[in-house]
Amino acid sequence: MSARGDRSEYLCIGCPLGCRLEVEEDATGGVEVRGNSCKRGLEFARQEHSDPRRMVATTVRVEGGRWARLPVRTREAVPKAEVLALCRALHALTLTAPVAMGTVVLTDALGTGVDVVASRDMPRLA
């Protein structure tokens, strides 16, 4: 580690400007953010540096519905490191139509405290 502390770079996803953010940690654990052009960039850099999170949208197998897959999404962002494992857990499920939008298909996914919900109605195919 250099005397200047740890430096990390992120590309801001707040808007299409795509600012290059630089986060530097000093010896006392404080962080300094550079390169942001607005407050949202500052917040994003801090969150991304300490605990990066993502919303997850994927599909779950559904039987008897209009389509073979039901779109689902997390209600809130989950830790980035859990994204692939969460998708794998969802792939193990098979639901039966009809399913209403907002139905919880996985509670407290992987212990993150976040529920995964159906993101549309899936009517039963007549």
Binding site: I13, S37, P71, R73
Partner: protein, 425 residues
Amino acid sequence: MISARPLQLRSSYDVLVVGAGPAGMAAALGAREAGAERVLMVDREPETGGILNQCIHNGFGLHHFKEELSGPEYAQRFLEQVLERDVDVLTDAYVLDIDGDRRTALMSPEHGVREVAARAVVLAMGARERTRGAVRIPGQRPAGVMTAGFAQKLVNQAGYLPGRRVVVLGSGDIGLIMARRLVLEGAEVLGVFEILPHVNGLSRNVVQCLQDFDIPLHLSTTVTRIHGRERVERVSVAPVDEAFRPLPERGWEVPCDTLLLSIGLIPENELSRRLRLRLDPVTTGPVVTSGMETSRDGVFACGNVVHIHDLVDYVTEESLLAGRSAGAFALGTPAAADNVRLVPGENVHSCVPHTITTDREHVVYLRVSRSLKPCTLRLGDVYERPLRYVVPGETVTLKVRPRFLEAFHGDTLRVEVVPREEGTA
């Protein structure tokens, strides 16, 4: 759970809307809002929602609903409103033809071929994806070459994985989003190749879809040949020079079984051409007034059929307006004609609508030809506004207020996006 009611198809309507995607649904609501009683919305798919149904990712509705929704959620909210407002919805149906008197021939398994008369028509057919033929990639013609949007439908609705080892050509948002989707579904994405020196999609998608999954992005690089007899076996890729000519001596080969194309959208204007509407050679969509009326009386257009939008929220706003105008026309109270023509000037690739009035507020959507930062957006010599940046991939919106035009007595205004002059803040 919501579902459309069985439909007694009438022989005449106040407003007929072709297409039940985000544009069609908002237009139908706009028409009802304006007082049109009998509104019919027709779509060839088995359900309403259009492309939104397969766009399962988040990020829709931040402007319109002030919250972040998935595509299917956005579509479902609109369908709920459409059904609440007693709009007739006819799915699994195809509009064959519309004539100059707005008599429409449509076909469905349930109703056969039927003629329906309408006082006003709204065209909301959306867009199609550009295919391999549009960029003429040399090589063999094996299975495994498809557009990113088609792959999206296969994965998200039909439940098929299009391949295991995937290369993406083009960095449009659908391509970036599909790169992530395929990784989440267990495929390997070997790289995204973009002929331009910059990404076409939103930078947030570069971070969330590529960087998060360590998918390589190759700018100024393109696919130069497709190899494989039955199925794609590999593609040749090469960097390009400033004139976009590939440099094969610096190229390499990527073994893969699938090539996804994310190389742009084309407004779907077969019906517009049958109606002999005036089309804008740049957008390829109809020329429209500030009320989204085309060159033919009583025929309106909105959404991607007019110009390609980067946010569905903009489609919704524009289509509500088109629907309100169509409703007013159907009731015999059309808005006064426009009196000012908008002309794309320096660094403005296209602007919609093509004409405006001096007495109302208008929202004008612009696309620029090249990136600039910082710069000035200028409307004739009556108005200017500083912009932090512009990029070709992102729409610039310009609100034209009547007070800008109080002292304006001409009939043409040039719209420009120019570098900010030296010495100004």
